[in-house]
Symmetry: D2
Subunit: 187 residues, 4 copies
């Protein structure tokens, strides 16, 4: 069984849709089990009980939503201090606009979450460019759903982005399956 925890914050429901798509992807794998939690509701037990962790956030001023950061500072720090999640599997996704012709802040938002996963000692699952839907639905760090266009007008996340999110979830479940039970890290 590959138990994957999907944690997110959402303002208008777009990131929540992406979170649910990632979870659906996890469940599409025979061994996959997904738990979806809002950032404000996650507990340390949710995290330690999982084989893999996925963080998702809207792009806010070029980095993750403060509610995701609060969860990291208050729930994850203790787990980091005690090395309680080393060797699990992790991934990230985001939603935002296409403002600036290149979704300004999308890349650094994905990276700001990934940095935390790496600090926790998680093995990181990227989004390969041959993933179906990638051209409009993702970046190297993970799925990116445009919820607004270049002029900041809402458009909702596209089917491509949701499809990519589903495949990302399945990839992460399979990676967790491959890694679980192995002693990867020297201590």
């Amino acid at each position: 069984m590959a138990k994957i925890l999907v944690v997110y914050a959402s303002d208008y429901g777009n990131t929540e849709k992406m979170a649910n798509a990632v979870a659906a992807g996890v469940r599409s794998v025979a061994t996959g089990e997904a738990v979806v939690r809002k950032a404000e509701e996650v507990t340390a037990d949710d995290i330690t009980a999982s084989d893999g962790i996925v963080f998702g956030s809207p792009v806010h001023m070029g980095s993750m939503d403060w509610r995701v950061k609060k969860m990291i500072d208050t729930v994850c720090s203790g787990l980091w201090m005690q090395n309680l999640v080393v060797g699990k599997v992790g991934g990230v996704f985001a939603t935002g606009s296409g403002f600036g012709g290149a979704g300004g802040g999308a890349e650094l938002t994905l990276l700001s979450m990934l940095n935390n996963l790496v600090e926790l000692g998680l093995i990181v699952v990227p989004l390969p460019k041959n993933t179906p839907g990638y051209p409009k639905g993702g970046m190297q760090w993970g799925p990116y759903g445009r919820s607004a266009d270049e002029n900041l007008q809402p458009v909702g996340v596209s089917d491509d982005a949701l499809a990519v999110a589903r495949l990302h979830g399945a990839n992460i479940a399979r990676a967790a399956d491959a890694i679980r039970g192995k002693e990867i890290f020297a201590v």
Copy 2:
């Protein structure tokens, strides 16, 4: 007089067009004088003789073109070691595709160049979001010209991106004018 050096690498001429647009913007300011150099041709004297420096690059695997990096490693390092460019003004721009729905790598490419400018002690001129053309032509770090679409098909940099590049050049010339001759930094 605000003498601005524009340094770039280019594969298919798109980044070169952007470099020339930045230079045209510099020259649109009464006091502006622009020097445009390929990364392979820049000398330490080109840099020390300038009031401001602009680096531009195509996005290559998520960071600047190796020719720009070689110039930084071989020409700029010595200037850094001797603190010879502290207090000048700097800016960046890039070209790339819209692959991944968000121009994967665009942001980190701009940042990889900006990091070097900051190490040199340059005061950094960003690209404000109310710059005309910004929605399709730039990011917070600087102008970004899409030269290929989401499927990696060549489209050439847009008029919007070139217009933004021109305005960025003018902004940098004005900033150099405001800063030049002032003793900003304590030593």
Copy 3:
């Protein structure tokens, strides 16, 4: 007059000391006026009333403290949307440990705040390497005060780091003086 707003979060008082040192540096410049605010207390008026803005944070899991991010998401976003702070001057500083032999997360914490300043359209003041005290007190992005050693044991921020913070404050005040009243950005 160069009115500089220093915004920070602090857990054990180290980042607060750094914030006060930046403010002291601002006031050491004839025209400098400093306002120091905890992240939870800053208002939009504090920001718009300033000529320059400095953000400081402890390193928390490789990026800024959630309270600083909450302030950015809830107070700064509106200013960004309305382009109300474009053309001011900005800078950053941080405190953290030397854990990992290189202060893991220090650089990305400074960058996570700087990214927000750049989004707001602020001209960024770096920390030149010839700043007295730099070898032990700073990075290219700004002052960095080690408050714990390589083994995570508390040591308190050093005099070097505080000296660098004071000089950074003075630099920012002088940059604000040089820029204020100039129309740098095309609109």
Copy 4:
């Protein structure tokens, strides 16, 4: 068998020592086989023949050495375009100074290489903080060997950093073993 390719550039031999330590760690695992190559000598065949790839570089002006970048631009781009390395395992390491009290540029150097590995579709192996030697020998992204002190005086990479590099190599070999032959990524 877990065949790991270690690619590096080195100026004074410190990064080479770290590369050899990573390779020794790979070989310490029963199934591990290591190939060590200078960045200028790597071929596409070296990369496709491997189960895992490790990039190492000195910190040069806040990012990887231009020779590593040239290898990425000229050798890896084609592999990226054709999706030929998706699903392998990857990791990074760096050497640099402690200048600035926090090894300015160390984190962004590690990240600049990691970004390329992620673009290639590699599953990333971090450096958990409970790795023996971590306090002085590494960061979340990978081993970091200080080859100069806070005043830029050469000190040579420490035994701690070399020990961490060896463990990182072993971790990567084990991760490659766990992943090899598994179909992780949906296509």
